[in-house]
């Protein structure tokens, strides 16, 4: 596995009398996809709101270890951006030629990219403008931003939709655009909050396979929220089970199956035994 990229240390959060999260500990390594599995309403989204810096935890820390060794496309985005907000790193260490910056990002926005369950595309912007939103918000010249976004359309399987409006796209396509937008946020860690759960079963299955295929080429470290056991087992390197009230990490399961996987994996005994373990835990 790759180097450590994100540590979530003893996060607790309550709203008034309601204790939502208790002592959450999560680690994420470079290139990993780690799922956080739990029933609806357990506090998964609250956890992501804390990680993305939108809300401040009552206690605990979120630490980002920035390696600056993102994929070629991403680093070209960075250089075009002229805006690397990881300059504020507390300490610098050199490890194996890569410089690692450690940043305490607790309660700070703009360090991780965040994708919500809804695609949240702006209806009045064309697809390409929607995808380029993070670049435009970063005050990149529009022409440049659209060019960088446009180069990714083929890879994300949405070629030809550039100048359509989101309302003209199907649910699956819209979600791909939202994913491209998340990717163009150009952060080393992505938080995906049930990105496929609003899709119908067939579209969801094809999106999961598409996502696996696409992740081969993109070195993105991902934290993935889901309430779907099959999805978690199929996509993840590791799964954290979030449960209880207040929610805490009940267990961590390592899915020991080489990647890239295909949907056949979902029919094996191994898959089912994982599923049984998780079901018993929930």
């Amino acid at each position: 596995m790759g180097k450590r990229i994100l540590t979530v240390d003893n996060i607790s959060k309550s709203y008034g009398d309601k204790h939502v999260l208790e002592n959450i500990n999560i680690t994420l390594n470079q290139g990993e996809l780690v799922s956080i599995l739990g029933v609806s309403g357990v506090g998964k989204t609250t956890l992501f709101n804390v990680l993305s810096g939108l809300i401040m935890p009552d206690s605990g820390n979120v630490t980002l270890y920035s390696h600056n060794s993102a994929s070629g496309i991403q680093s070209s985005v960075v250089s075009n951006n002229g805006n690397t907000d990881s300059d504020t790193g507390d300490e610098k260490e050199v490890a194996g030629g890569d410089s690692t910056q450690t940043t305490d990002i607790t309660g700070k926005t703009g360090y991780l990219s965040y994708m919500l369950q809804k695609d949240l595309l702006l209806p009045h912007k064309t697809v390409i403008e929607n995808a380029a939103l993070p670049l435009l918000l970063n005050r990149m010249p529009k022409k440049k931003a659209l060019k960088i976004a446009g180069e990714q359309f083929e890879h994300f399987g949405i070629e030809g939709t550039q100048y359509q409006y989101p309302a003209e796209l199907s649910g699956g396509m819209r979600q791909r655009v939202a994913l491209l937008r998340t990717y163009l946020c150009d952060k080393e860690v992505a938080l995906l909050d049930e990105p496929f759960s609003a899709l119908d079963t067939i579209t969801r299955a094809s999106m999961q396979q598409w996502y696996i295929d696409m992740m081969k080429d993109i070195k993105l470290s991902t934290l993935f929220i889901t309430h779907d056991m099959d999805e978690a087992i199929l996509l993840s390197d590791r799964i954290y089970i979030l449960k209880g009230s207040p929610a805490s990490i009940a267990d961590e399961i390592i899915i020991d199956e080489p990647k890239p996987r295909n949907s056949e994996f979902g029919l094996t005994d191994k898959f089912l035994s994982y599923k049984k373990i998780i079901r018993d835990m929930l």
Binding site: L116, K118, L122, N138, A167, S170
Partner: protein, 267 residues
């Protein structure tokens, strides 16, 4: 599967619009029948001629007084558009303030709503008392009547944006003004234009009402004059003229809306 759904949706919307243009003939037929009955009532003397002029007499009156009507209309239109511009601008600023500062909204919104229970006809004499018979009291009344639909409509629009959208943009480190420019204002455009459409209708009526109560020219002044001379045919002509002006202005707003919001045609 999703694609098929989309196609079906699009098909059903075009079906609907075909149906809608079909439906649009119904009011035209109703109006034609109404005019025929009206004409019959006059020519067959069901109603005494001095009380109700026939549609043909009204049209003759309109054509006869056309140059005079135009010169009065010019004055009324200037008042209405000047007031409308100021009212829309004021409503816009007010809505943005109420949206940005919850305290301002809390303090101002109920007062705005209560103020709408005061009929403009009641304020118009006061305005004339304060600002004399010139253009000022008319413009001010138009500002007062057009301001409210703008402020309230736009505020509703600004606050209709999905909370999650704002959350997402905040996670991308968007500033307040960026959130306004990229998400809030475009989302409020539909309401903005409905507000303007309503304000346009109010503004013409507002200008005419304030002219009734005192002034030297304008369609409202023309109205009071023809009323005093019992020229009911001219009275009807000017009433229809005022509503045609309002309709044309509202249609103009819709045309601008379609130009400004090309994405709304997609739905």
């Amino acid at each position: 599967m999703k694609n098929d759904n989309n196609k079906n949706n699009r098909k059903s919307t075009t079906d609907k619009s075909v149906k809608l243009t079909g439906v649009n003939f119904v009011p035209v037929i109703v109006i034609v029948v109404f005019l025929l009955v009206w004409q019959a009532a006059c020519t067959l003397h069901w109603v005494p001629g001095y009380m109700l002029p026939s549609p043909i007499q009204v049209i003759q009156a309109f054509i006869g007084d056309f140059p005079l009507l135009m010169s009065h209309a010019k004055v009324t239109l200037i008042e209405a558009l000047l007031g409308l511009f100021c009212g829309v601008l004021l409503g816009f600023v007010c809505a943005v303030f109420m949206d940005s500062f919850p305290l301002v909204k809390k303090g101002l919104y109920p007062i705005l709503v209560i103020s709408q229970t005061i009929p403009p006809v009641a304020i118009a004499p006061l305005l004339i008392l304060w600002f004399s018979y010139g253009i000022a009291p008319k413009v001010i009344l138009v500002v007062l009547v057009s301001f409210f639909p703008m402020a309230v409509g736009l505020l509703d629009g600004l606050q209709s944006v999905d909370e999650d959208m704002i959350k997402l943009m905040k996670s991308m480190k968007a500033t307040k003004s960026q959130i306004f420019r990229y998400a809030k204002f475009p989302a409020a455009l539909t309401e903005f234009f409905s507000g303007v459409r309503m304000a346009v209708a109010y503004s013409v009526v507002g200008a005419v009402i304030s002219e009734w109560l005192g002034g030297f020219s304008g369609l409202g002044v023309y109205m009071t004059r023809v009323k005093k001379s019992m020229a009911y045919d001219k009275m009807f002509a000017v009433i229809f003229f005022v509503s045609v002006i309002s309709l044309l202005l509202m249609a103009l707003v819709s045309v601008i809306q379609r130009k400004v919001m090309p994405w709304s045609k997609v739905r």
